[in-house]
């Protein structure tokens, strides 16, 4: 009840015409920025930071959190419409959303993802409001062994993203790990494979995903002479508002995704990317038709979308209660909180409770605005795609090149994007799965650091992973996932052989 009283106090602070206008604008700006390849939550918040200089704390933080939430909504738009994910969590959205778009159900994919995002965001906010301090107090018990095993669980989902050939999946996973090993090694301080100074910080994975998915798809479509037949721009509510059947199919995955996204979002460092991959793997495992995944399955779209947005409030929990930023976006939020004279940590709720609760109330409001604006904007985005469909290849190329340039304001990331564009094209042409590759690129550096820190903590012994109860639990979970996947594959093969004995 105290939490509700505090939330009402927060609404009292936020519900002024100026703040409402700011939250609405922040959501829209975040949606557009999130939709642009190369620009994710970190870039969105960083770009808006100068605008908050003249504002009071509550208004400034509402603007920044509104942009943060908006980018999570926006990341899915280009992922669904042109297979160019705006940020890493939207990769999974592209896996199911883009096939739906090719089937002429792009507007429906946007509608379902908007609703799932809203529910995920609302669930995460509920947890943030009622359980933040309790959950955060447990998060501090996680150390490098637990973080490593959490990353390893994420990597174990490679088995579920593998597609037809496990060998190819492992091959691209190893390649992903190698690509991620460039740059500074944060454990020893040494720099690996920095052939040019730009590689000291490693290869930017956003440039990789822009190339792999955006440019790779364009090159493949140019070869296959794929032409979109989306018809002329039109407006039809039925096209993008999910019906009872679609909502029924999306309901359970959305709820599961909301829970998983919030929990993983709370764990610092794990973030929305790990959460979406894990949720996708979970949905595929639970699905009655896992073979349909990758061809436009609603459950594979709704679950990860809810996860993605639930992770935003989740990642704010350790930030607010412990002062630990769980992601790039929350790291910039930490800077913003300090800039406003606040001290994120266990005492923040006591010393600046009014501002924090105003920010949370602003997030609740932003989530409602974002559902409304995103559903209303679907016809705009879809009709924009219909308008440019004859020149889509060039539009995507322009967005990929400029998006890669915007990562460091230099041509270096354009080279990276081009190289991985060609790799993406060859992957697609030869049926190599991209999911395991990108999962390895994102998770391997974290997993490597935590693994080596854990072994150092264990004074050279790996027994540390089984001596701690939480790490042992995660280890058992990982073994179950791997064993379940192997068993499932063997069973499917046996069934296939029984049906076609001559194979």
């Amino acid at each position: 009840m105290e939490a509700l009283g505090n939330l009402m106090m927060g609404f009292g602070e936020v519900l002024t015409p100026f703040n409402i206008a700011i939250i609405f604008a922040a959501g829209l700006i975040g949606t557009v920025v999130g939709a642009l390849p190369g620009l994710g939550p970190s870039a969105g918040i960083a770009l808006m930071l100068p605008l908050t200089f003249g504002m009071n704390e509550a208004s400034g933080l509402c603007l920044l959190t509104g942009v943060y939430m908006g980018t999570m909504y926006g990341g899915r738009i280009t992922a669904i419409l042109i297979n160019a994910p705006g940020d890493a969590p939207a990769i999974i959205t592209a896996l199911e959303g883009y096939p739906m778009m090719k089937q002429g159900r792009g507007a429906m994919a946007l509608g379902i993802s908007a609703v799932a995002s809203f529910i995920g965001g609302l669930f995460g906010l509920g947890v943030l409001i009622f359980l933040a301090p309790i959950i955060a107090s447990y998060a501090i018990f996680l150390g490098p062994p637990e973080y490593f095993l959490l990353m390893a669980v994420g990597l174990a989902t490679v088995m579920l993203l593998a597609g037809d050939s496990m060998l190819k999946a492992f091959f691209v996973t190893c390649l992903g790990v190698l690509v991620s090993s460039f740059g500074s090694d944060y454990v020893s301080g040494q720099i690996r494979f920095a052939y040019v100074p730009e590689l000291i910080e490693g290869i930017d994975f956003v440039a990789i995903i822009i190339g792999l998915y955006g440019l790779g798809e364009v090159l493949y479509n140019l070869e296959k002479k794929v032409k979109l037949e989306l018809g002329k721009p039109r407006f039809s509510v039925k096209e993008f508002v999910p019906g009872r059947a679609e909502l029924g199919e999306a309901a359970a995955p959305t709820m599961r995704g909301s829970v998983l996204g919030t929990i993983i979002g709370i764990v610092p460092g794990a973030g929305a990317t790990v959460a979406t991959f894990l949720d996708y793997a979970l949905e595929k495992r639970l699905s009655k038709r896992p073979e349909k995944f990758g061809t436009g399955e609603i459950s594979g779209l709704a679950g990860p979308e809810a996860t993605n947005n639930a992770a935003v409030p989740g990642s704010l929990i350790p930030l607010i209660t412990l002062g630990i930023p769980g992601s790039g976006g929350t790291a910039i939020m930490l800077g913003a909180l300090i800039m406003f004279g606040l001290r994120p940590g266990p005492l923040l709720m006591q010393t600046s409770g009014d501002i924090v609760w105003a920010m949370i109330a602003g997030l609740v409001l932003a989530n409602f605005f974002l559902l409304l604006s995103n559903v209303l904007l679907i016809p705009v985005f879809v009709n924009l795609l219909r308008t440019i469909q004859n020149n889509l290849a060039n539009v995507v190329i322009a967005l990929c090149v400029v998006g890669a340039f915007s990562l460091s304001y230099s041509a270096f990331n354009i080279w990276i994007m081009l190289i991985f564009g060609v790799v993406g094209y060859l992957f697609k042409k030869n049926d190599y799965p991209t999911g395991p590759f990108i999962l390895a690129v994102v998770l391997a550096p974290l997993a490597e650091n935590y693994f080596r820190q854990s072994v150092m903590l264990g004074q050279g012994s790996a027994a540390i992973f089984v001596e701690r109860p939480i790490s042992l639990t995660i280890l058992v979970l990982m073994i179950l996932i791997v064993a379940g996947s192997v068993f499932g594959r063997l069973r499917a093969r046996k069934l296939r052989e029984m049906r076609n004995p001559e194979e």
């Binding site: 790990v177 060859l426 030869n430």
Partner: protein, 148 residues
């Protein structure tokens, strides 16, 4: 096995072999635990082994229709738009080092429009100018990202 798959595996194998060799410069293990050479060395070796396994597995498999060696000319012709677009983009990116990102990009877009998308010269000039004007407005004027 298709030629494009062979190119992919060979390129990745060379990449892995180079990293494997260079990871010898880093410490693999110390008294405290694993060093910076541990991950690249092991995964480079794993990449090479897996690449070899894929090659061996494909040798034991009957070739698909699209792996027919006599049709290699047709397949290369079909892949020309993708190869051409990628080559144009590499050249354009090189030219971007002279200062402008959008000018070389505009030239590439016009060539792709005319040769691969079947647009007329006037249409290609106008459509791509509008596209880049929108990109410039969003990135440069609104977001202050110095794209010129």
């Amino acid at each position: 096995m298709r030629a494009s798959e062979l190119v992919l595996i060979a390129t990745i194998a060379v990449f892995a072999a180079v990293l494997c060799y260079q990871s010898l410069e880093f410490r693999y293990f110390s008294a405290q635990g694993f060093g910076p050479g541990f991950v690249p060395m092991n995964f480079a070796v794993a990449t090479l082994v897996l690449g070899l396994l894929i090659l061996l597995k494909s040798r034991g498999k009957a070739p698909d229709d699209d792996e027919d060696p006599s049709a290699v000319g047709d397949r290369v012709r079909a892949a020309l738009p993708a190869i051409g677009a990628a080559a144009l983009l590499f050249v354009a990116t090189y030219l971007m080092h002279f200062g402008s990102v959008l000018a070389p990009l505009y030239a590439v877009m016009i060539v792709i429009s005319i040769t691969m998308l079947g647009h007329s010269l006037i249409r290609a000039l106008i459509l791509n100018a509008i596209t880049l004007a929108a990109v410039f407005a969003i990135f440069n004027l609104w977001l202050n990202i110095p794209v010129t």
